[in-house]
Subunit: 112 residues, 2 copies
């Protein structure tokens, strides 16, 4: 059984349309995860993930900070303890708010 | 897109070998999640989940408190920020430590 603190995992910069955002892969192929993978994102002040859509879903949990889940038509505020489901095929991005970093888990299917 | 705070979701008591433990289903069938499901457990003081094995994996993230991941042969301490992977077929349970509640996310495949 595998136990590792997220702070001991390298944070990579998210490219391709993101701003001031890092990703850490907490549980993925290397840990033998067969069905889905866990990542931790830190979206810094005035940062955001790319505005995009893809066929797979996101399951997200907000750990720290505040932000917004932004779609093509509307935006929803996010706070710690919020669970977020983004269905496949939905245009979306995440952004921080309030001048602080928003930290969140984001899980995806393993075949994506 | 679905946003709901975990505190607005009912906490059910975990039966069958658990002690002082609740579960909230944050993202599952009702939210249309096709591949995997997100649950939040709160393991109260001196509480534990059942000691068991099953064919599917767990992906866990420790949110608050301290505890242990207990296998048949050994035990590993847990603290906030720890990511935990329990492969399918592994005997395990989670327990709180230090007299406080341990709060954790635990995700499983949707077909289990």
């Amino acid at each position: 059984m595998y136990v590792k603190n997220y702070q001991d995992i390298t944070a990579d910069t998210v490219e391709q349309g993101a701003k001031n955002t890092t990703i850490r892969w907490l549980i993925a192929e290397n840990e033998g995860a067969p069905n889905f993978h866990m990542r931790l994102f830190e979206i810094g002040p005035k940062g955001n993930t790319p505005h995009h859509a893809h066929e797979w879903e996101h399951e997200v949990f907000i750990l720290e900070g505040k932000g917004n889940l932004v779609g093509d038509e509307s935006s929803q505020p996010l706070k710690p303890g919020d669970a977020v489901f983004v269905p496949g095929g939905t245009m979306h991005h995440f952004e921080s708010a309030g001048g602080a970093t928003m930290k969140m888990l984001c899980l995806i299917p393993s075949n994506k």
